[in-house]
Amino acid sequence: MSNFSVGFRSSGHIQILDLKGELDAHTASELEAAIQKCQANNQVHIIINGASLMYISSAGLGVFMAYIEDIRELGGDIKIAALQPKVYNVFDLLGFPMLFDIIDLEADAIGKFDPSNA
């Protein structure tokens, strides 16, 4: 039924979440669970890869808002990479680029976490 899924990858200490499909009020809980899992595993360097994310609703954006503060307090961050233009527009309209690192390429996002590797 749900046309949303979260894939887990890691690159060193960085947890990469591949979002696929549509993130809305019904599927937001799946992303919540995924981020909670990262938190529980003490993985606070998180990259959200939105290459396959086709749609995001305000409820989906809310998930990022819910966790960013905690993650940053733990010394980590959520960086958002590779968004589709249409989805980026939704982030942009709300001013998310002022709050989050939103980067075109995943590799650049990794580089931002690990300046030494870049």
């Binding site: 009020a25 749609y55 609703s57 305000s58 409820a59 954006l61 809310g62 998930v63 808002m65 819910a66 503060e69 249409k86 939704v90 309209l93 709300l94 001013g95 998310f96 002022m98 709050l99």
Partner: protein, 738 residues
């Protein structure tokens, strides 16, 4: 008129009463008449001193038969409605029998007649049977009537016992017996009083006796009696047998004990009646004796029978369970106490998961003869329920003190044995019914089976009760939601304001009953109007609450803020205290000043407003700005940028929520910003109503029957450029759209 009507009514009442009471009165009158006639008949014999003629004898035969027939049917009607318990019934027969026998016995002993030196105890002339004195006639009448009444009473009352659990054949056997008895009695009419019966008359008795035997074994009522009632009934039967043997007696002459020569007076009165009374007496004795013996044999098994009955009653109470589905607590009570009520256990309780709190931990929901605390002390419910959930079969614990799941010390008689039965509904264990006894080895296989049958029904009833509760809850919620929707509707403006030179149209629809979209207008002066549109993240009830808060903030803060960015800043501060971390509100606030002929607009993360000019020039006003609640500090204020637009006649401003541009067609394509803007360009010459309607029409044809899955709000403002001096302020009802 009224008087006549009243009279008719009284008459009707009188006739209907006659119809109801007429028959019994007629029967009693016939009986009374026959008594008078028979007294007259005997006095005629006494005075004439000669036996009656054949004709007179025939007449006597007729009216006595009719008279006592009437008495029989009167009594039948009288006792028909009675439905006493067997012991009460036997008691009433015994008491009235004693009374009647006492009257007969006393009267019969009162005085004797001596004629020609011979003592005649009865007072009838030997040979002819003519009464010798008038007291003889009175004595004969009294003794006979007392005995006949006893016999009739006995038969009418015993009919109720014989016909307990009646079937067509048992009813038929009873009436055949009565008819055979009457027939055999009538055949004795030719027999002189005091003489023995002839062979034919003897033979005629045989069928009656056969049916007496058949009816004497109709003793179904005995099994329904409790132990105490049985003991009492044994005594009553014994007393009745004694009374019948001593008072009436068996055989031709009857007993000579309580009533001297008991049947002789009757024979002189009317031989067939004597025969009938003898037969009734015989049946009474027979029936009481079979009842007596049967009761004696049933006594030892009464306990078992009562337990079976209890279990049966429990099974039958299942129907009762169904009627309790509307009251879960009561239902739990009934189910929890059933094993005790059925006589299968000393104490019992029902444990179920606590669905209300959402926990699957079992807890005791009802108990019988024990408290929930005591249950907790005696057994480890978790272990038992774990086993029950795995095996889904009843568990019998024969010796509680040796079972690891119990906390019972050896020798402790608080809990001896335990039977745990799962309640299974729709293939799921929904509860556990515990039945416990103080003795060890208290539960047999058949106990487990009986309770299992009950448990299956109980599970069904509980499941239904739960479904019913859910349904009620659903309906309650939907009622509340529709109230919420009405309340929310009232939070939105009921009218669009009218400003000369402007036309405006607005509408909002929610995907669910309530939504998070908001729009509003505020008058800031004669020529100044504030317009807001907002969208709370998420949908449904939580969004609706924040939307209401937004409305409150707008109505109170908008008049105090000089500029749109100032208002949004205040709103952000106010909302910052109540918004959840994952909730934000996007909004646009614009102030229209017709005096200065400009529009100042600020955007807090909202879908950008569209402006379309008469020339066809069109764009989205995408000033920077964070959504409300995304940052609670300075960043928000820094991010906000206002834009001031000088109004030109024909300028069209369209505010909307993302539900509009994100509406999807059947193929999943989004409506989008381009399509919206080009549609607005096409309709730029229309007034606000026309443009509003055109957008909704286009949206509807675009989604082509798909459901709106987001809240959708559209506000259209058009400046027509009418001179300021003609400005008026009035309002008119909001255009019904969407």
């Amino acid at each position: 008129m009224a008087e006549k009507a009243l009279k008719t009514k009284v008459n009707e009442k009188w006739t209907s009463r006659l119809a109801r009471r007429g028959l019994p009165v007629l029967l009693l009158a016939l009986f009374g008449l026959s008594l008078i006639l028979s007294v007259g008949y005997h006095f005629t014999q006494l005075t004439s001193g000669t036996p009656p003629s054949n004709g007179a004898e025939f007449l006597y035969f007729t009216f006595v038969t009719v008279g006592f027939g009437s008495l029989w049917f009167w009594m039948k009607g009288y006792f028909q409605e009675r439905n006493d318990s067997p012991s009460k019934l036997l008691w009433s027969v015994l008491v009235s029998g004693l009374f009647l026998v006492a009257i007969a016995g006393f009267t019969a002993r009162f005085g004797t007649v001596t004629a020609g030196g011979v003592e005649l105890p009865l007072g009838f002339a030997p040979g002819t049977g003519i009464p010798l004195t008038s007291p003889t006639i009175i004595k004969m009448m009294v003794v006979s009537i007392a005995q006949i009444l006893f016999a009739f009473l006995l038969l009418h009352r015993f009919q109720q016992l014989v016909l307990v659990k009646r079937t067509r054949s048992s009813q038929r056997n009873w009436f055949i017996m009565l008819i055979l008895m009457a027939a055999a009695a009538l055949l004795t009419v030719t027999k002189p009083a005091g003489a023995p019966q002839n062979e034919w008359q003897n033979v005629a008795f045989i069928p009656a006796v056969v049916f007496m035997l058949v009816n004497a074994f109709k003793l179904s009522w005995i099994v329904f009696l409790s132990f105490k009632e049985k003991v009492a009934t044994i005594g009553l039967c014994f007393a009745l047998v004694l009374l019948l043997i001593l008072g009436l007696g068996i055989g031709d002459t009857g007993s000579n004990i309580l009533v001297p020569r008991s049947f002789d007076y009757l024979e002189f009165f009317f031989v067939p009646l004597a025969s009938f009374v003898k037969q009734a007496s015989m049946f009474g004795i027979l029936y009481c004796m079979t009842a007596f013996l049967s009761l004696l044999f049933h006594l030892p098994t009464t306990g078992d029978y009562e337990q079976r009955e209890g279990e049966r009653a429990t099974i039958f109470s299942m129907a009762h369970l169904v009627s309790q589905v509307f009251d879960a607590e009561k239902l739990f009570g009934t189910v929890g106490s059933a094993p005790v009520e059925a006589g299968s256990a000393d104490f019992s309780w029902l444990a179920m998961p606590d669905y209300q709190s959402g926990s699957l931990q079992y807890r005791v929901v009802s108990t019988h003869n024990i408290t929930s605390e005591r249950v907790g002390e005696l057994i480890n419910s978790d272990l038992i329920i774990e086993d029950l959930l795995t095996d889904r079969m009843p568990i019998i614990v024969n010796r509680a003190s040796t079972d690891h799941r119990m906390n019972v010390a050896p020798g402790n008689s608080a809990l001896g044995s335990l039977l745990v039965t799962p309640l299974i509904a729709r293939d799921e264990v929904i509860g556990a019914l515990f039945a416990a006894k103080r003795v060890i080895n208290g539960f047999e296989r058949d106990d487990a089976e009986t309770i299992a049958v009950f448990a299956a029904q109980a599970a069904l009833a509980i499941d239904n009760s739960r479904l019913f509760e859910q349904q009620v809850e659903k309906e309650r919620l939907s009622r509340e939601m529709s109230i919420a929707r009405e309340v929310q509707k009232r939070l939105l403006p009921q009218n669009v304001p009218i400003m000369s030179g402007m036309s405006m149209a607005a509408s909002s629809v929610s995907a669910q009953e309530v939504g998070g979209d908001y729009y509003d207008f505020v008058r800031l002066g004669e020529h100044k109007l504030g317009v807001i549109i907002g969208d709370v993240s998420g949908k449904g009830t939580s969004a609706a609450f924040y939307m209401a808060e937004m409305q409150g903030i707008f109505q109170s803060v908008s008049r105090l803020a000089d500029s749109p960015s100032m208002f949004l800043h205040h709103a952000n501060v106010a909302l910052g205290q109540s918004l959840d971390r994952n909730v934000f509100i996007s909004a646009i606030y614009a102030i229209l000043d017709l005096e200065k002929e400009n529009l100042v607009i600020a955007r807090a993360g909202h879908c950008p407003a569209a402006i379309v000019r008469l020339s066809g020039e069109s764009r989205y006003i995408r000033t920077p700005g964070l959504g409300l609640g995304l940052d609670r500090g300075e960043l928000f204020q820094r991010s906000l940028t206002e834009e001031s637009i000088a109004l030109q006649p024909g300028d069209l401003f369209v505010l909307y929520t993302d539900g509009v541009v994100e509406s999807r067609s059947e193929s999943g394509e989004e409506y989008g910003y381009e399509r919206l803007l080009s549609l607005l360009e096409d309709h730029r010459h229309d007034d606000a109503d026309g443009i509003h309607a055109a957008v909704l029409r286009d949206l509807r044809s675009f989604i082509a029957g798909e459901e709106y899955d987001d809240d959708m709000t559209l506000v259209v403002l058009k400046w027509h450029g009418i001179p300021l001096d003609s400005l008026i302020s009035q309002e008119h009802p909001l255009h019904e759209t969407a």
